[in-house]
Each structure stands twice: as structure tokens, then as C-alpha cells.
């Protein structure tokens, strides 16, 4: 390590760090585009912007440190960098680069104690999935683990420290992102122990062209949202619920809404007794009960970001609105010229 880098990391490790409480206790993070510029916003539970930090390009998702006012913003995949942002000052405090030949794949999570950051990655040439591990004192790379599938996208930590991985199953061209293995793709949902050992894995043998991409924790169950790569004339579910140790449940919408999502789920979120998926392509948010029964379909163009808000949901869209959703309706909280990106990331509950 260069002396300068060493001193910088020493300084970073010793400097007092602001906490989320110091910056107004935001409840959510969301990337967005305003005019031609890109930002990461920290939002209050009422949807007000508390902090905005400039980004060098279009963001996708973010991960929030559980206590320190730090967020990692991920570029759209495949990305070769992720930025660690100090949300108190708006400064970029670290720039994470995956090892040579690997790419970030859009999502990451902090461990509950905040000491570790995990990132979903692929080996560019083959799309083989890796989970990168970073020490968050000075954001140094520790190691990486196999994700046990191709093209992992969203990852989530369960309360017991188990890591859930959505291995989308799609091999993409390292440069132009075109999909190379649609005929033979085979997504899975994988659980890793806190040491990186494979604990469990499921797939959907009859729906191998349904790419498992996004995850939410729904009590004991893991809600997984899918994107259909098969014949668009076939109605397939976009949501599944899996309680490890049991068979996964697939959540079918009502027949009249079978094609409303256009085979595409962009985000998934869960409250204590509801699970919601969004489809920006279909302009739809669908709500299911915790046992997988379709409860409601709400329509608005380009809905994508979703997070739990008490017993309701908060949604964002590319037209600039923040809305709450319950079984009955969508209710706008604010609207404007801010085009919100794919994901709305809730901060740890202890900080709200």
C-alpha cells in the first residue's frame, strides 16, 4: 500500500463519523435524475428530501450503512465502480473497484453491525456470480465468494446473518449487455452462511426462463421478483415466496391482470402482511397477501421503486412522483421534475 493511501485510510478510520441521526434520520435512499444531472437523495418518511449528493452518472440502487451516515451508490450494471458517499458532507469518501475482470451487478448490503459490505458481482467473461466482501473501516477488499449461479442481482441479509442471493441465471455480454443464454438459462435463489458456505438453494424447474432478480424479506419468507424471458404470450407469475425448508409458493395475479406486469417486475417490497411488486413496463403495482393471494392492482406509468412504510408502501416513479400504496389506492405525496431510479432503499429501522 502506498504511504499516502495508508495515511488517508488511517485518517478516515480515526475521524469521527456522522451518524444518520446527525443528518436528520432519513428513512430512505433513492437515486434520481434532475435535468441532466444525477443524484442520490436521502428522504424522510414523509418523502421530503433531506440530503442530496451528486452522482457522476445514472445510479441504480444504494446500500446504507446501519449507523454511519454513509451510503454506497451502485451504477447500473455492469458497473466497474461503486461510490461510498458521506451523506453529511456530500463527499465521495471512497471509490470501490472490483478485482480485474469482475464487474458490480447493481446491488449490495451492509452487515447488521456495519463492519462488512457485500456486493453482487460477476466475472465479466462468463457472468459467473461472486459476492464481494469489503471491510468498511476503510473499504478495503477482503475476499469474494461464489454466488452459486450466473448473473446475481439483488442480495439481502436475513436477520440471522444468512445472505440471500437472486442469481438471475442470465449470461450477458461483458460489453453490450446482450443476453447470451436465454434458451438454457437457469436462475436460482441461494442462501449463504455468514462464512460464505452454501446453505440452501431453490430453482423453478418449470419456469427456467423466469429470471429471479429482486428480493425482499417478508417475515420468515423471502419474497422474490422475476422477469420473464420466455414467450410473452405465456402468462407467468412475477412473484414467489420462499420460506427456507418448504417449497416456494408462486403468486398468481387475478386472471384479468395476468399480463398487466408485461412479464417484468422491477422491485419488490414487503410489510408485515403484504408483498408488493412493481412493473415500470406495465405501469403497475400489485399487492399480495403474505400467503400469496392477489389483493390489488394499481396503475401508474413507470412505477418502479418500492419500500415498506409502516403497514403501507412508498413507491417512486420515473415521472417524478412519490406515492403511498395500500390495498385501496395510490396516494401522491409529492411530484416534480425528479425522475426516480429503479430502487427505493429503506434505512435500518433502528435509525427511523
Amino acid at each position: 500500500m502506498q504511504r499516502r493511501a495508508f495515511l488517508a485510510s488511517l485518517a478516515a478510520a480515526c475521524a469521527p463519523r456522522m451518524t444518520w441521526a446527525d443528518v436528520g434520520s432519513p428513512a430512505f435512499l433513492a437515486a434520481c435524475k434532475q435535468g441532466e444531472a444525477f443524484f442520490l437523495h436521502a428522504l424522510s418518511a414523509a418523502g421530503e428530501t433531506l440530503i442530496e449528493v451528486p452522482l457522476p452518472g445514472r445510479g441504480h440502487a444504494a446500500a446504507a450503512h446501519p449507523t454511519r451516515a454513509e451510503a454506497v451508490a451502485f451504477a447500473r450494471r455492469p458497473g466497474t465502480f461503486a461510490l461510498v458517499l458521506d451523506c453529511a458532507t456530500g463527499r465521495v469518501i471512497n471509490r470501490l473497484t472490483p478485482p480485474e475482470g469482475q464487474q458490480f451487478n447493481g446491488h449490495g448490503v451492509f452487515s447488521a453491525d456495519g463492519n462488512l459490505l457485500m456486493t453482487s458481482e460477476v466475472i465479466a467473461e462468463t457472468s459467473a456470480g461472486r459476492i464481494g466482501l469489503w471491510d468498511t473501516r476503510s473499504y478495503t477488499r477482503l475476499t469474494d465468494w461464489p454466488s452459486h449461479g450466473l448473473g446475481p442481482h439483488e442480495i439481502r441479509l436475513l436477520p440471522n446473518g444468512t445472505l440471500a442471493i437472486a442469481n438471475g441465471g442470465i449470461q450477458t455480454d461483458p460489453v453490450d449487455r446482450s443476453k447470451l443464454n436465454i434458451a438454457t438459462m437457469h436462475p436460482n435463489l441461494t442462501l449463504l452462511s455468514p462464512d460464505g458456505d452454501l446453505i440452501d438453494q431453490i430453482d423453478l424447474p418449470d419456469l427456467r426462463q423466469n429470471s429471479i432478480r429482486h428480493l425482499a424479506l417478508a417475515g420468515e419468507a423471502i419474497a422474490f421478483a422475476m422477469q420473464w424471458e420466455g414467450d410473452p404470450a405465456e402468462p407467468v407469475p412475477q412473484l414467489g415466496l420462499w420460506t427456507p425448508g418448504t417449497a416456494p409458493i408462486l403468486c398468481e395475479p387475478s386472471p384479468q391482470d395476468a399480463f398487466a406486469m408485461q412479464g417484468y417486475a422491477g422491485s419488490v417490497a414487503a410489510t408485515a402482511d403484504r408483498v408488493l411488486i412493481t412493473s415500470p413496463k406495465g405501469g403497475v403495482a400489485m399487492i399480495f397477501t403474505a400467503d400469496g393471494t392477489h389483493k390489488a392492482t394499481h396503475r401508474r406509468a413507470d412505477l418502479c421503486g418500492a419500500a415498506p412504510l409502516g403497514s403501507d408502501f412508498l413507491l417512486t416513479d420515473g415521472l417524478g412522483a412519490l406515492l403511498t400504496a395500500d390495498d385501496r389506492s395510490l396516494t401522491p405525496l409529492r411530484s416534480g421534475k425528479t425522475a426516480w431510479d429503479n430502487h427505493l432503499v429503506p434505512l435500518a429501522k433502528t435509525q427511523i
Binding site: 415500470p280 413496463k281 431510479d341 429503479n342
Partner: protein, 150 residues
């Protein structure tokens, strides 16, 4: 028409309603090219006339023409001055009118296959023209997230 009024979360402003119609136009053309034409077209080596829409009622080719006419009407309604878009539609309609194979059953014939493929390319070009001409004129774009795909 309650776009922009309280109690309508689907369209918070009139512009959002315009955007929805514009998106419908683009999606309609995409569906026409990829599905109504693209599914029976298959590949040169393996055409799939059995996948033609409404084959049993002999309306496959007619549905393509009607769909083009309907989408042309939509384009004209949302942007009456879109001369380049309307000309592109007219070109596609002319090619569709040349079709004398109502159920697309003859796609195994290379001539027929190429004719349909040229129509597909023309429909795609019509979509590109509409995006380039009507979008900027109305100040709307296609969905920020819907187009992103991740």
C-alpha cells in the same frame, strides 16, 4: 378527463396523460413488429406461420393493417404536424396492402418471408421516427425506468 385533478393518482398532470398516449403509440408499434409480425416471421430458416395471430379466422394480415391504421390515427391525434411520422406510417400501410396472404400461411416461400420482414423493418423505422419527431415536439419521453430493464 381528470388528469391533474385531485383523486387521480394515475395521471397527476395533463402532461402525464400525453406521455401515456405517446408510450402507447411506441408500445403499439413495438408489439406489432415483435409479436403480430415477429412471431409468425420467426427466422428465415424456420418461419412460424402457425404462430400467426387470428389464423383460424383468416384475419392475420388484416389485423396488421388495422393495427397500423389505428396507430396512425393515434399519432395524428397526439401530434397532427408529425409529417415524417405519418409518411412512415403510409409507407408501412402501402407494404401491408400488397399482402395477398390473409393467414401468412405462405411464409415458407422466401419471397413472402422477405416481404413480411421488410414490413417489420418499416414498422420499426416508423417507431424510431415517431420517437424522434413526436417526443421532442410534445416534450415527453418514454419511461425512465420502463426503458432501463434491470
Amino acid at each position: 378527463m381528470t388528469a391533474g385533478q385531485p383523486g387521480n393518482p394515475r395521471f397527476l398532470t395533463a402532461d402525464e396523460a400525453t406521455q401515456a398516449l405517446f408510450t402507447q403509440l411506441a408500445t403499439g408499434l413495438e408489439y406489432l413488429a415483435d409479436r403480430r409480425i415477429g412471431r409468425p416471421l420467426g427466422t428465415f430458416d424456420k418461419p412460424r406461420p402457425d404462430l400467426a395471430e387470428a389464423r383460424a379466422s383468416g384475419r392475420s394480415a388484416r389485423n396488421i393493417t388495422l393495427s397500423l391504421q389505428g396507430l396512425r390515427g393515434l399519432a395524428q391525434q397526439i401530434h397532427p404536424d408529425g409529417q415524417r411520422t405519418l409518411a412512415a406510417f403510409d409507407q408501412a400501410l402501402k407494404l401491408a396492402a400488397d399482402f395477398d396472404d390473409p393467414t401468412l400461411a405462405n411464409l415458407a416461400d422466401p419471397q413472402a418471408w422477405l416481404k413480411l420482414q421488410i414490413l417489420q423493418q418499416t414498422v420499426r423505422a416508423t417507431r424510431d421516427t415517431a420517437l424522434a419527431e413526436i417526443g421532442p415536439a410534445l416534450g415527453v419521453t418514454l419511461g425512465f425506468n420502463a426503458q432501463d430493464g434491470d
